[in-house]
Amino acid sequence: MKKKVISMLLAAALTMTALAGCGNEAGGNAGSEAAKAEETAQTAAESADGDAVSAEDVGETVTDASLRPETLDTIKVVLFGEESPRMQELMENEFQQVFIDEINTKVELMYLPWTENGAGGKVDLMIASGQEFDACIVDPTWAASSYSKGYLQDLSGVIDKYLPDWHENMDATAFEAYHFGDGVYAIPIGNKPTAGVFNTVCVRQDIMDEIGMTDISTLEELTEYVTKAKELHGLYATYELSGNAPYIIRGTSDRNITELATGLWIDQDTHELINFAESPEFEAGVNLYNDWYAAGLIPKDILTNTVTLPFQANMSSIMRGTCGTTLIENEPGLKTVVPEAKTAEYYISPEKPIYKATYENTAFQVPVTSTKADRVALFVNLLQKNTELANLFAYGVEGTDYELVDGKVSKISTDELFYEWMIYNVKISSPTVAYTDEFMEVYKDWDEGAQPSVTFGFSIDYSPIKTEKAQIDSVWDELATPMMAGLKDYDSNIEELKSQLKAAGWDTYVAEIQRQFDEFMANK
């Protein structure tokens, strides 16, 4: 009797679990259908109002009421970092209202830590396991890797139709970085000057004024500046390695070469791949750093230091420049240590051309599992639509989160909303009060005269040369890096470097990259 009861209970438990699983879905479906019916009834009433409101809001921009979907739907967008309390509040109220009014879409955000940004992280896992979400931010390298695994959706169909305002405020060249095969796999967002990034040298203008220098356009002038900075203030020149400092390499020869991969640079004019270790530029860079090291200008712990921001900590007198944004990037931190410090960026060999290697580093991708690519495109379009909306999403509600002072944003709340650096579009976004007018004049036109780099849009797929790349990276780290830090001289070490690179599979490595590059150029 007991056995019968127990076995019946077990069977009942098993059936319950099975039914519960089905039951949830069926119940869930019925529930969501009812909800949808309600929502469509609501939106029919809302859309009449919504169209009127959006026409007012938009002003002179083309009203895309025709693009606004008729049914309300929800998209799930993955972002990184932390959702600040104010962002949560706005997402539930003002932002959500704008989304519904403009594009009849509710936006749900899902935040992951920044460590998951990149290939092999949780986002890739989510796509591979079929978890539902509709968009995530991505960069060109990650997009290339995801495309090769078949994770991304081709957006060519939605790009032409659903991005009317985007095309006015963004450069379509930006799509090139996400162009793989025959399709486009992400929608870039944001528009900031990126010409010559890391090609300028950022120096201490207050020290320049002190020693009476007005310009740095050659390596000799740079050496003069760092020497005097050491004499007067005891500052080291830099903690950056010469190979990693394009602003140094720029001044070593007349060729226009840019870095492509470890140990491999490319000549922008002849499109020739250059073995950096065998180049005169490398020799000049290494010799310069060796001279600096001998003069005590390079710190002995350059390779092992744990200092995060030596320039801002008043430990070095130069660092790589970032398209003129030193005013925002470096000065605030520096001023807490040296209140009277000023910074400025200079091009060494300013007569040489300046290249734009990236247009935008951030874009929104749509996974293959999503069916709402059109809504995602509308969402991205909305973020870049006009000044009012761009400011709303980046800074918040005027009067509550920020105030406009002479057309510039003065923040009241410091909570992060949609990332400023992602949304910032130099054509429509209002700058913050940290940007002086003279800075804005320079910044707005920073990209003028810049040429797109020949490698723009080219991403190397390392999978056929994984081993060679790993070995070459290791040889480079072990042998070339100390040379570029000034710790080892050129003449006694160059032969070993060359032979070790050869032994690590240099020929295979270069042949494969050359092949990929030729293919890329042929498809352009």
Partner: protein, 300 residues
């Protein structure tokens, strides 16, 4: 003659003893030093850490890092603490119960499927299908996304701990169980009344291992939890540090950000906030750990 021998022995003994004290003392200092560095640095201000590096005694005392962690985020941290404490307490209880039950079954000689269960336990220790199948199973079939159980169930049973408990149970004489059986007790009663109380040391040891793993876990939250109010402490702090690191490393990024983000001191303050409770708890359970570790080793 005898007296001389005695003195010689005690002198060399003393020397040996002193050198042991010195060596172990040095070892203790070496272990303690990084901790003191962390505490000292967490109370420094970022600028002096950047310039002077870590120090046990802060060059310039500042509560900046703690202010940043606990200030506007105090409520979130408290929430994270609550989640972690709940997960640890409930998780440990569930894990100990499940592990002990499984281990007991493995010791019952009458149970014919013992070897099969042993295999079920042993094989996953060695072979694993990988991350993706595990993730698909947990999210698609067990629906563990954004679920409190997601923080407990995947880590609920650790094969190593089950083996440990099985050895504890084996060390309890069979005669007790037989005697109880003769008196009419069923297996559940034998387990509850005899084995469970007698293996207290083992249970506390295993319980502590589980508690530590639940307390330190951030991986399960990373995989399965998306709602901010369900983040456990470790994941919350991991998240925060990852974000601070990202902001500090962005070359072109923070247009308009003129906040000096404390990075090194924040990391150290994070460490102190996280390990604080465990360090305070440890002295109370220390004797159980040392007992537990050696009992399994000695037979009988």
């Amino acid at each position: 003659m005898k007296q001389k021998k005695k003195m010689k022995r005690s002198a060399s003994d003393r020397i040996l003893l002193i050198s042991f004290y010195i060596i172990i003392g040095l070892f203790a200092v070496i272990c303690l030093y990084p901790l003191l560095l962390a505490v000292g640095t967490s109370f420094s201000d970022e600028a002096s850490v950047t310039v002077n590096g870590y120090s046990v005694i802060p060059k310039k005392f500042s509560l900046e890092a703690y202010g940043m962690i606990l200030g506007s985020l105090g409520k979130n941290i408290l929430n994270a603490y609550m989640v972690t404490i709940a997960v640890t307490v409930i998780g440990t209880a569930v894990s100990v119960l499940v592990s002990a039950s499984f281990a007991y079954v493995l010791t019952v000689k009458d149970f014919k499927m013992r070897s099969v269960l042993n295999m079920f336990l042993y094989i996953p220790m060695i072979f694993s299908a990988g991350l993706l199948p595990w993730y698909i199973m947990c999210t698609k079939y067990y629906h563990l996304t954004d679920n409190f159980l997601a923080l407990i169930l995947p880590g609920c049973m650790n094969a190593f701990n089950v083996f440990l408990l099985r050895n504890f149970f084996k060390s309890i004489p069979d005669e007790l169980a037989e005697a109880a059986k003769i008196d009419g007790a069923n297996y559940l009663r034998i387990f509850r009344v005899i084995y469970f109380p007698l293996a207290k040391v083992g249970l506390v040891t295993v319980g502590l291992f589980y508690a530590l793993s639940y307390w330190n876990d951030y991986y399960l939250a990373l995989m399965f939890i998306n709602k901010q109010n369900m983040y456990p402490l470790q994941y919350y702090l991991y998240n925060m540090l990852a974000n601070v690191q990202f902001i500090a490393n962005q070359a072109n990024a923070s247009l308009g950000y003129n906040i000096n983000i404390p990075l090194e001191t924040t990391k150290m303050a994070t460490i102190c906030v996280t390990i604080g409770p465990i360090i305070l708890l440890y002295p109370f359970v220390q004797k159980y750990i040392t007992k537990g570790v050696i009992v399994g080793a000695v037979k009988g």
